[in-house]
Amino acid sequence: MKKQLFQLDRRTFMAGLATSVALPGAIGLSAGSAFAEAQTPKRGGTLTTVAWPGTTYMNAAITTSGPESFLSPKFFDGLLGYDFGMVEKPALATEWSIAEDGKRVTFKLRPGVKWHDGEAFTSKDVAFTFMEVLKVHHGRGRSLFADLQAVETPDDLTAVFVLGKPAPAMLKALDGRESPILPAHIYAGTNIMENPANTKPIGTGAFRLASYERGASVVMERNPDYWDEGKPYLDRIILQYIPDASTRTAMLEAGQADIVFLNFLPALDTLRLAAMPDFELVEAGYETSASNQQMDFNLEREIFKDARVRHAIAHAIDRQWIVDNVWHGFGVAGASPLHHDQRAFYTTEGVPQYALDLAKAEALLDEAGHPRGANGVRFELTIDPTPYGDESLTAAEYIREQFRQIGIQLNIRTQDYAVFIKRCWTDRDFDLCLYTAAMGADPTIGVQRFYWSKNFKPGVAFSNGSSYSNPEVDALLEASQVELDPDKRREQFAKFQQIAMTDLPTLPVVHTTRATIGWQKVKDHTVDALGSLGNLANCWIDG
């Protein structure tokens, strides 16, 4: 398959890039519109897209859930943007500088920027957003900005972040999706979670809200006063919430939707359409939302305290098979706790890998003292796949078959999301749990939480669910939080990856890749690392 060839290419390609910060715009991963020969954008037109589930808010400063992540950047800008390879670029901030000790970061703000209601954007808004909103209400912001002590505003166009200790990861989280800047004049002094502006956004972004039918659709219209002059090109973006994936396919195919982001189609349909001449598949632009499918071993269970059992299980699961047949090629076999899009840190060098080897798995289990019983069964386990999407369940079904072959009887338990979260992170009543989680723009943001012993917090979802604790890993992770030197951080993470894959408290199953599939006529929807999770200001429709 053309697709898989391409992915092999990419893996080797990325290995080569591992030591250098990615070149802006140089990661031409597919024949995506980002690299089509320059055409003059045409103005006007409506872009229709579909998604699911519906949104609660339109403002990603108070939640980290998915629907808001897509919607919010259209209305709100961040201080920075990111080019391919997570290279910072200006947005609301035009210049930024970090003090020697790494404890003060100064942002020069863009002059003349106006909120959708006509008020001027100032440094007060920045200070308010970080101190009152992101630090308090944003799930990741709470830990990420934990050491942000104050935002000083010497003048209207300068914001100085005062940090308790250096925070190198912070600069990767200042885009409109992760840290949208809210208008202080709307939010200050109100109950932020219940402010009506959460669903009637007033931002500085490229689009304004035209209409919103809860659970059905969002219509965005061009912000004529957008600071990035001449943009956006589109007059309107229509987002329809469609629960059924096949229906979404049908809509795209029938031309009732122009483009579908974020793997919202069944993978097989995406591939089928991609093979048609009128459609185009783009896999770039999801660097801030890189996700791994991974499986936690509950290390509180006696049986998993023996690393040989974990290793045996790793040997029994062909992760490439899962990539090919569960993800239909949209991903790479899991090789590291990090995601390969975290290019600056991702490595497989010296990182133990567990190739499919059922004999070895059986040998390890025998060795660990779990011989096959009379009925050929060594022991029984339960797996809890996350109820979002089919991939966890399907992968679990595959794992069940593999386990059967090495004498482990595996029962799949499905439940709804609430029960899943409660079972795995609150009640801790599970053996294995399989889920897909975001690795974040920086490992400190997204990866550390699963391995840091201080983040073993029952009751907190997507914390250290395996209850893994290794002082060496803790030390590495804590050091990397404050390390300003990129090379040293890279080394710290390389070491971390080696240890984590040796201890294997969590088995990385697939490094997933996301894709955008759309009609050829939709141009320039993915021009940087944020892709569709940016503001789509460059997107235009040809014809």
């Binding site: 519906g54 039918e213 809860r214 059905a216 009732q256 979802a461």
Partner: protein
Amino acid sequence: MPRYVLRRLSQAVLVMLLVVIGSFFLVKMAPGDLVDVLAGNSDMTADQMASLRVRYGLDQPVLVQLFIYMSRLVMLDFGYSPLNAAPVLDVIMGRWPVTAILVVSSVVISMTVGTVLGVISARNAGNPIDLSISILMLVLYATPSFVIAICFILFFSVFLGAMPIAGFATVGTQATGFAYAWDVVKHLAMPVAALCTFYVAIYGRIGRASMLEVLKLDYVRTARAKGLPERRVIYVHALRNALLPLVTMAGLQVSALVGGAVLIETIFGLPGMGRTAFDAVFERDTNLLLGVLFISSLSVVVVNFVIDLLYMALDPRVELA
């Protein structure tokens, strides 16, 4: 009349009370609550979760929660839907019309089409027309609505490119008046048709049986003995009486349709009550789920009341007793 209304009303209140209590305990049976879901979405700490539980009253004993819920319900306060960041009533008021239109038009259309088919079948009892209609109805009866819905989309929208697939109306449409109505009709045609098929079959079968039974009755013989044209015997004398079991069926159908709408709303991307309930279950939006169950049950009760009145209009024998 007032006596009858009063009795029906007290029955309805009792039924609604049972619905509320029943659905409340059902919802409370669930392991995991709203806060667990919110925590999953927002990386919350245990403290924050605890304080959220206090905020939503989830820390109270279940009976206390029920009491609080019911006393608020009396004032038509359905609480707040965290999933939608809006009061439950607002959410439901936005979704109710979709399902209502879907269900009402399905009832009307399936009843009409089913009855017509049933009557044709009964009048041709035993001959090839009857046989082919009967086979058609069996197939419609046996084919799940979601299979039919998928076929509709593939044929009418993808293959023919003729019908809009999803939504209640064209999103962002500026159309008003007749143009808007036509837009809605086009959008709802496939969902309604998919929802109808099963009931067309049911009405057809009941209609046929009922018609055959009525045609054997004495007063039909009287009508014939009067020398009335056959058309009048069938459509004036027999049909009206044959309709009675169909009307009874309609009462049950309304409730079933609201449920069946889940699938159809899912497939056709319609923001209706069914899909809302489905999502509410999975997001543990208790207030929303209870609200949807309450309002849809209430609608069913009201519709059944209307159907009773209709039945009374059709059948004068049903006295106000």
